[in-house]
Amino acid sequence: MFAAFLQYLFSGLTSGAIYALAGLGFAIIYNSSQVINFAQGEFIMIGGMSSATLVASGVPMPLAISLAMLISMAAGIALEKFAIEPARNSDVVTIIIITIGASIFMRGAAQLIWDKEFHSLPAFSGESPIAVMGATLMPQSLWVFAVSGVVIVALWWFFNRTMFGKAMLGTSHNRLAAQLVGVGVKKVLLASFALSALLGAVGGIVVTPITFTNYEAGIMLGLKGFSAAVLGGLGNGGGAIVGGLIVGIAEALASGYLSSAYKDAIAFVIILFVLFFMPNGLFGKRGTDRV
């Protein structure tokens, strides 16, 4: 009985950590620009696809991973330069719609640059499951947990301990004031897209050995990541992690103890329920407007 529960929990943690990593990217861009970047899932896909195809063509894994991160960052910077920046004086809603368009464009481009097949990466530390009290866990899931942990610590350090990180936070709070004290607002926006693309790529690379990837992989990861970010409170990195884990574990427990046919519905009911009582998510700042 306990072994089964533990297995459900591991299953949920594995999916949850994947959703959480995807959710983190949404949080960062929202933090610095109030924009929800619907192309976030595509950064994940680009990271996964480029690392998988590079490894398949014989490039050593560490080099392939670094290149994949650079490629995704380049895509993030290009998105900001060519699509977001020209529209920077428009409404947030307009920019959000631009990101939706960009995501469709990136999916199409991926279809042409790569192909429509699924690709996989070898697991980082082998495929032998680790047995824990009758349940099993793949080593790759531990990689996903560890990377999520490292990323969240690194982000905390970046936003709270570096000048540039603080400048980014400042810009999100008050753009005009930030500009007045000498923050290069344009540079901040560019950096936030580069950073979230990098984050997406990292996520894409560590989850590809588990979920595989293809040109459309970003849709599901983007959607679940968005749910995670909203549940945790948009703009809060830690919240995205907690939100992702809650969604993942709820799905796994629901399919274990209730019925797998309703697992998605149950996850969404939980999200709706939380948002009904806490409209800003679990850890979101309350939206008070000072007059």
Partner: protein
């Protein structure tokens, strides 16, 4: 291939007769229309289908065409969307004025176009799987691929042979997996097999160990049957190994491509599934009538496109051949005559199996069209 040669001969003779009689009508090409899902989520079906049609039509024209006339192929890409499929079917009928339509890569796009096609009374050969396309029989609608029900029946009869009576079903809760699940539930009783656990997963779930754990703990499960395609079955297979589940794992014909083995890796060892002869051409018995057909098709396809042949490409090949043979026999492109000739298709040896249609059977494949294969050391091994 042999059919094509035969066709060429018929054509040359027919052309000669026409020339002698002085009624040369060689100018007008025969128009075959197709709407396929060459992009979008079903592109793994539509893309090889499109390539196959284009390749064989070009080849046919080089050899002189049919009835002394060239064949013109008009292909539209519906992106897997039903509304676009019906728009393109309309365009094929009304503005391109085609003589015959091949297509509908998916059951959804096929069903969306059927009402228009029935109204326009034009022969139509679908490349999609589900039984609903030809059951009940529709006058102008035919199809080439195996149905999901046949796949389920093949798997259950293999289980029965091995003395398995209690199984668990795990299927994708959308499209192909859902339809396969419903067909499996409908026919399983005929084999004296009981489904004791019935689990589903979403097409893009990253992990299904929760569902598999539930199956593992269900009492008396002797085998597990997974219905789905894309990455889902590969994830099921990997998770299956992770939980070291002891009973045999069966997959559907949806995974009969090398991609599945590549993705699932070592975990796919020992998995059994029903597949068309096209997957294992070298292992078919020398007496198997399908052997020369599938060997030639595989060779030509792989030489032309440098990628592994899939059964989906084979469906398009079969559809085109059946259409061309019927047109040649009808001696014209008169729609009613061509339709009647398609219905009279008998003993056609295709990539999917032997096809003999009748007024009550517009698919014409026998259950023998499927072979049971097992995955050993990363390759298919025939294991009927």
């Amino acid at each position: 291939m042999r059919n094509l040669v035969k066709l060429g001969v018929v054509t040359v003779v027919a052309a000669g007769v026409c020339a002698v009689a002085g009624v040369a009508s060689a100018a007008e090409p025969i128009k075959i229309g197709a709407f396929l899902s060459a992009t979008g989520p079903a592109s793994f079906l539509g893309e090889p289908e499109k390539k196959t049609l284009e390749m064989y039509v070009a080849k046919l024209n080089k050899d002189g065409g049919v009835l002394g006339r060239k064949v013109e192929l008009v292909v539209y890409d519906d992106g897997g969307a039903g509304d676009k499929a019906s728009t393109f079917a309309k365009r094929l009928i009304e503005s391109d004025k085609v003589d015959l339509i091949i297509g509908g890569s998916t059951t959804g796009t096929t069903m969306a176009a059927i009402p228009l096609i029935e109204r326009a009374q034009i022969p139509f050969i679908s490349l999609a799987g589900a039984v609903v396309i030809v059951e009940p029989v529709k006058k102008w609608v035919f199809k080439t691929p195996h149905t999901d029900r046949m796949a389920a029946e093949k798997v259950f009869s293999d289980m029965k042979k091995k003395g398995i009576s209690k199984i668990a079903l795990i299927s994708e809760d959308a499209g192909f997996g859902k339809s396969g699940h419903d067909q499996s539930v409908a026919v399983v009783k005929n084999y004296g097999i009981e489904i004791v656990a019935d689990e589903v997963y979403s097409p893009k779930d990253p992990d299904v160990t929760a569902q598999l754990t539930k199956i593992k703990n269900a009492p008396g499960v002797q085998a597990v049957f997974n219905f789905g395609f894309g990455q889902g079955p590969a994830i099921v297979t990997k998770n299956y190994k992770q939980l070291s589940m002891p009973m045999p794992l069966y997959q559907s014909h949806g995974v009969a491509s090398k991609d599945y083995i590549r993705l699932a890796g070592e975990a796919s060892e020992g998995v059994r599934l029903p597949a068309a002869g096209l997957v294992v051409p070298d292992q078919l018995a020398a007496t198997d009538p399908q052997k020369p057909v599938v060997t030639a098709f595989k060779k030509e396809y792989e030489a032309a496109f440098k990628s592994d042949v899939s059964t989906f490409a084979g469906h398009a090949y079969d559809g085109l051949q059946i259409a061309l043979v019927a047109i040649a026999r009808a001696g014209s492109v008169d729609k009613a005559k061509v339709r009647d000739e398609i219905e009279k298709t008998s003993g056609y040896v295709g990539t999917g199996g032997l096809v003999s249609m009748s007024p009550t059977d517009h698919m014409g494949l026998s259950p023998a069209a499927f072979h049971m294969v097992e995955i050993r050391k990363g390759d298919w091994v025939l294991s009927d």
